[in-house]
């Protein structure tokens, strides 16, 4: 958007009377007359069948504004967000999104269409979603991926519900790592509650699953074991196959939480024995967006009929051409109602489109390089911070992806606050622990961050 467009201009178009009308309703007063005449009504009010007792005669006190006024107002409001460099992660990440993603996804054909209830006229979007599913299948190695859930947390909730449904015998517990974001856990608990499951944690030691403790906690009544790699602390798990085997022994599903960039590099989930993979795929496709996400959800073949959400499959047209269509809809709410696999209807389809365009733009080569950088940058930044007296990084003696925890001699709250004063935002994760996330979008300021930390720890 260029400054040229910010000319005082109200943009309503000239064909309306006194601007009491919506700028997005095209009917002229003459047309309204003609339509009322055709209907046989004297006024629009006559068409409403709202009893007096519940009619609303008041005002919301929301003043209509011009486009220019609204844009300016919101710019001013958002301008109150402090200008800081974020070294934040822990589940929401900022990678560079190439311009081609915006220009293609914002095409109004994609943006303003809806769920492909008439597939013959929606082949384009259906193919894009099929390709998104396919990319997730390649990244996870699992057989089936749906074309989106809301975010990682709700995808995790749905995974637990699925795990309970597929089990032959009933169970009641879900085990999650103690490093799981508390917000993610809370969402899981709400989904679990409806499925009559309780959520318990198992400890990590030095940023990796404490296998012995997990073995103690698991039992016949566990329907799902969930692990994250990378964990919320940025550590890469080293014994995922063992966790999978342990879950399998107890007839629990093994669900792995990750994201497409990490998946491009780390052990393939299918290879380590994951039954389900969830996570946030919007790490590609969306830059920082205040937590809006894209839930990825992939499962092995045996769980297919229990999968929540929309699935796009292929078929043939009457004239023998390949076509794409929503399929296996009998799992879904509009047919199964209360016996549906989930209530999800509107999902994050347009975000999935953006993610697919982003993955296509990167290719295997670009995506792998990006992933490798996530390892390198985390290691290098940790090493540089470790050189500072009063900082020990990484706190966990493990390999890291994108981010790491650093132990500080001064209380983390003070360190974080003083770094913020100097223009940098980091996480406080413990009394003496901060967490730093580095991607290509903030790597240019790592030098300044290091200098600032040095100042703060003096």
């Amino acid at each position: 958007m260029t400054t040229m467009q910010r000319i005082q201009h109200d943009g309503t178009g000239g064909s309306h009377e006194a601007d009491e009308s919506s700028p997005f309703a095209p009917q002229t007063p003459q047309e309204v007359e003609a339509m009322l005449s055709a209907i046989g009504a004297d006024s629009v009010e006559e068409l409403f069948d709202v009893p007096e007792a519940v009619a609303f005669d008041g005002e919301f006190d929301i003043e209509a504004k011009s486009e220019f006024e609204v844009v300016t107002e919101i710019e001013d409001l958002l301008g109150r967000n402090a200008d800081r460099t974020e070294f934040l992660g822990r589940g929401h990440y900022d990678h560079y999104v190439p311009s081609v993603v915006d220009y293609l996804s914002l095409r109004s054909e994609f943006l303003t269409s809806y769920t492909q209830y008439q597939p013959e006229t929606s082949q384009g979007f259906l193919q894009a979603l099929f390709e998104f599913q396919s990319m997730i299948v390649e990244l996870t190695g699992l057989d089936v991926a749906n074309c989106s859930m809301y975010d990682a947390a709700t995808a995790l909730g749905e995974a637990a519900a699925l795990a309970a449904r597929v089990r032959d015998t009933s169970g009641s517990r879900v085990l999650v790592p103690e490093t799981i974001r508390s917000e993610r856990r809370s969402v899981l608990e709400n989904y679990a509650d409806g499925a009559e499951l309780t959520v318990e944690t198992y400890p990590l030691v030095d940023g990796n699953t404490d296998f012995d403790a997990l073995s103690d906690r698991i039992g016949e009544d566990v329907v799902m074991v969930y692990a994250e790699s990378p964990t919320a602390r940025g550590t890469i798990e080293e014994r995922l196959s063992d966790v999978a085997a342990l879950a399998d022994e107890h007839e629990a599903a093994f669900c792995l939480g990750s994201d497409p960039v990490a998946l491009a590099l780390l052990e393939e989930p299918a290879a380590v024995g994951a039954d389900i993979v969830i996570g946030d795929a919007s790490v590609l496709g969306l830059s920082a967006s205040h937590g809006m996400g894209l839930g990825l959800f992939a499962v092995k073949e045996g769980y297919l009929r229990q999968v929540p959400g929309r699935l796009v499959g292929t078929s043939e047209t009457a004239d023998g051409r390949r076509a794409y269509t929503l399929t296996l809809q009998t799992r879904e709410q509009h047919i199964r109602k209360e016996r549906a696999t989930s209530n999800i209807c509107t999902n994050q389809a347009w975000v999935a489109l953006r993610t697919a365009i982003h993955v296509a733009s990167l290719g295997a080569t670009g995506l792998s390089s990006l992933a490798e950088e996530c390892v390198t940058r985390a290691a290098e930044t940790a090493a540089r911070l470790d050189e500072i007296d009063g900082v020990s990084a990484p706190a966990d003696d493990r390999h890291h992806f994108r981010e790491f925890v650093a132990r500080t001699e001064r209380p983390a709250a003070e360190v974080a606050s003083e770094l913020a004063d100097r223009g940098f935002l980091v996480h406080e994760v413990g009394e003496y622990e901060i967490q730093v996330c580095v991607t290509e979008t903030n790597s240019g300021e790592v030098d300044d961050l290091v200098a600032a930390v040095r100042e703060v720890l003096v």
Binding site: R305, Q329, T330, I335, R336, R339
Partner: protein
């Protein structure tokens, strides 16, 4: 539209048919039922050896647009299942009384099962 309703079979008002084959009763869905459902895409059968009470939901038939529970009209133990329909669910559409059968069960035909005429009346 007239639906095939073989005279020698018995029926339920939830559109299952019962064929008394001597050592077991064979169960399936009627021509009317398959027509209502549309193209069948998936079938779930009870397990052999499973013990069922009459009226229990024991199988599921899915079409593109609907899911139907199948209720066993006969009590007893399931003695056989027609696994062919797992791979070829369309058999329920093309041959609902023949190759599209669902399972066999050892209990007796209930007294209140409808005969062909009574069922035909119902579906009109």
């Amino acid at each position: 539209m007239t639906y095939e309703t073989p005279d020698e079979l018995r029926y339920t008002d939830s559109h299952e048919w019962i064929d008394d084959r001597g050592d077991a009763r064979r169960i399936g869905i009627t021509d009317f039922a398959q027509d209502e459902l549309g193209d069948v895409v998936f079938v779930e059968l009870p397990a052999e050896g499973e013990s069922l009470e009459s009226g229990a939901a024991c199988a599921v038939v899915e079409s593109i647009k609907a899911v139907s529970d199948i209720y066993t009209p006969v009590s007893g133990t399931v003695t056989a299942t027609n696994d062919a329909v797992l791979d070829q669910p369309e058999l329920l559409n093309t041959d609902p009384y023949g190759e599209g059968w669902l399972f066999e069960i050892d209990g007796q035909v209930p007294e209140d099962a409808l005969d062909a005429d009574e069922y035909r009346e119902q579906i009109e």
